[in-house]
């Protein structure tokens, strides 16, 4: 009985990974291409992102959920930025700021507005921690950074948000 249950779980998880692959590969490629402007590099990034997704597949929820989409795009975008950084270090800051400022938000949550203005890495850490519920160690694994670095980014992101809200007279 237990064996049957285990097998069913496995089949489900296998299907989940394949479903994610077929559903999101184009989006992932689009996101990577926006950052890298190079098809080969974008494909490499998509592939390496899928390796990361495969490692974390048990923690991923429903394939169609906004949470899953958010998680996947966070991974691919960060990987694309890493590749970009390696290739053109001098452009990194401009790139991160540009990427971060793209999203429109019409809601009235001031903190959300400020999070959207954060550089990609900072925003990713905040989202992975407070929306996806990952620990600092897990975030470090997902973003390919050290745990200490993840912790530092988390701290700095919150400091930045604090200052922004103070500037906007929200706090």
């Amino acid at each position: 009985m237990l064996l049957y249950l285990q097998m069913i779980d496995t089949e489900e998880e296998k299907t989940k990974f394949e479903q994610i692959y077929w559903k999101y590969r184009r989006l992932m490629f689009t996101v990577a291409l926006q950052v890298l402007h190079n098809m080969e590099d974008a494909e490499d990034v998509v592939q390496s992102s899928f390796i990361k997704i495969a490692e974390n597949i048990p923690k991923i929820g429903a394939v169609d959920s906004p949470k899953t989409m958010g998680y996947i795009v966070t991974i691919v975008k960060n990987r694309a930025i890493d590749v970009y950084r390696k290739k053109a270090r001098q452009n990194t800051v401009e790139l991160c700021e540009k990427v971060a400022s793209d999203t429109e938000y019409s809601g009235d949550n001031e903190l959300a507005k400020q999070i959207l203005k954060l550089p990609e890495k900072y925003r990713s850490v905040i989202l992975l921690k407070y929306y996806h519920g990952y620990t600092t160690r897990e975030i470090a694994g997902i973003l390919n950074i050290t745990e200490a670095n993840a912790s530092k980014i988390d701290q700095r992101a919150k400091e930045k948000l604090q200052k922004s809200l103070e500037r906007e007279d929200v706090l």
Partner: protein, 475 residues
């Protein structure tokens, strides 16, 4: 001060805004490269088994805990104990099966050369399904693994049997024109076998095709004698308990039958051991130089033969017969050395080597220039037992137009897989080899699966006799 609650709420809003943006984004209609698709197929495959291994490991731990916890129950109830042991065994075999599949797909070149055999996927699914669901002993698992590997249609990929065939039916058979025939002591055909031990011959042959890589006519001829083995007969439903089995055959519509013994394989080998022959021997017959090889290596024997051949040519010998019937191969350079002695040079194979851990193959081409010798007529004799470098030699002669092929084709396809690393399954310890290279015959447009003979000699006929007659008629 920003609190965690504020961050939870804001992060949710941010994600929603991002998702809306991504959904509105025009997703690229990108055609992914073949290399990407291959890597992803491998990843999907790996993910499946990595997950499975992990889950099985967890399950095994749980079972251990249960075993310890329920030790008292298990010691008293034999049925429960047996069920748990069966379950653990099934898990172990399933893990080995997954490992084997992974090795095959990571190493074999057919997966990157778009040459996956038609029945492979189905055989793989069946293999995993059977191992997962059926209680079996290690020997049965070995046979299931052979069945799976046979679907690669590659004679050089397979299991080194841990549980060798124990018994063999003491009769001679051969596959002639698609029929399994009974052969008498004079090597003549007695008739077409219709059944063995009550099982129709087609039924038995179907088992042979499942267990061995029977991919073309030559390999069918090669594997035909394997139908006499006890395991094959049993899988086909033949009762092998009393060691005497009735075989029926028909000869010109006349039905006949007789009893044959099932002998221990060692006894059979002693009884039918072929007389030892020299690895290489030669004879001069007027203008004909006849060379017989059983195995050719770069050694002093070869030097002697080359010297004799060279001298014969210098003395006016115009016909050379190289008889590689039953030759198991050897060093491919030794065969090329023979050609060199005759002032000939063959074209070369194109070799595709699978780069391990990669979805790519490296192509190696020698680009040797063909050199023929119009003063010499070369005839190469082969049969279904010609294999390895000797079989390759036949292909080189044919594709380079260096001479005539007489006899029957080797059971090895002219373009074939081979040379690969060995594997050991982690639980059962079963060992085997998986090809990592593909040799493409020099004439890339020719049939990769069968070598066309210039003169085909029917089974049971003396190939050398045919060759000499051909020479006589030619003169």
């Amino acid at each position: 001060m920003i609190t965690d609650e504020m961050l939870y709420e804001a992060a949710k809003e941010v994600n929603q805004a991002l998702v809306r943006q991504w959904e509105e984004l025009p997703w690229e209609e990108h055609v992914f490269s073949k290399s990407f698709e291959r890597k992803m197929r491998r990843l999907i495959h790996r993910t499946k088994y990595q997950l499975l291994y992990r889950i099985l490991k967890q399950a095994a731990c749980l079972v251990l805990v249960l075993l310890l916890g329920c030790a008292s129950v298990l010691t008293v109830h034999a049925d429960s104990r047996e069920a748990v042991i069966d379950w653990i065994q099934r898990m172990m075999y399933y893990r080995d099966a997954g490992y084997l599949v992974e090795q095959v797909e990571d190493i074999h070149p057919c997966f990157v050369l778009d040459d996956i055999p038609a029945g492979y996927e189905e055989a793989k699914e069946q293999y995993l399904k059977t191992v997962k669901s059926k209680n079996m002993d290690e020997k049965a698992f070995e046979l299931e693994s052979m069945r799976y590997l046979a679907s690669l249609d590659d004679m050089n990929s397979g299991i080194r049997r841990k549980y060798a065939f124990q018994q063999i039916l003491d009769l001679e058979v051969a596959r002639i024109d698609g029929e399994i025939c009974l052969i008498n002591e004079e090597q003549l055909v007695e008739g077409k076998i219709t059944s063995i031990g009550g099982a129709a011959i087609d039924q038995i042959w179907a088992v042979v095709e499942q267990i061995f890589p029977v991919s073309n006519q030559s390999s069918a001829v090669f594997f035909a004698p394997y139908l006499r083995f006890d395991d094959i007969l049993r899988l086909a439903g033949v009762e092998t308990e009393n060691n005497v089995i009735t075989v029926s055959w028909e000869n010109e519509s006349e039905q006949q039958s007789a009893d044959f013994s099932l002998l221990p394989y060692e006894d059979y080998k002693k009884l039918h051991a072929a007389p030892r022959s020299d690895m290489i021997s030669y004879k001069r017959m007027d203008a004909v130089f006849y060379l017989k090889t059983d195995y050719l290596d770069l050694n002093r024997d070869l030097d002697d033969v080359c010297t004799a051949l060279s001298a014969a040519i210098a003395q006016g010998c115009t016909d050379v017969i190289i008889d590689v019937c039953g030759d198991s191969g050897g060093d491919s350079n030794a065969y090329l050395e023979l050609l060199k002695t005759m002032d000939m040079q063959a074209a070369s194979y194109t070799v595709y080597s699978r780069l391990l851990g990669s979805g790519k193959c490296r192509m190696e081409e020698d680009n040797r220039i063909v050199q023929t010798n119009s003063a010499l007529r070369l005839m190469v004799l082969s049969d279904e037992h010609t294999s390895g470098s000797a079989a390759n030699f036949c292909v080189l002669v044919k594709d380079s137009g260096l001479g005539q092929l007489v006899g029957r084709p080797s059971s090895l396809s002219p373009s074939s897989y081979g040379y690969g690393p060995s594997f050991t399954l982690p639980n059962t310890g079963l060992e085997g080899v998986i090809s990592s290279k593909y040799w493409q015959r020099p004439d890339a447009d020719a049939d990769p699966d069968s070598l066309e003979m210039d003169v085909t000699v029917p089974y049971g006929e003396d190939i050398l006799f045919y060759a000499l007659e051909l020479l006589q008629n030619r003169n």
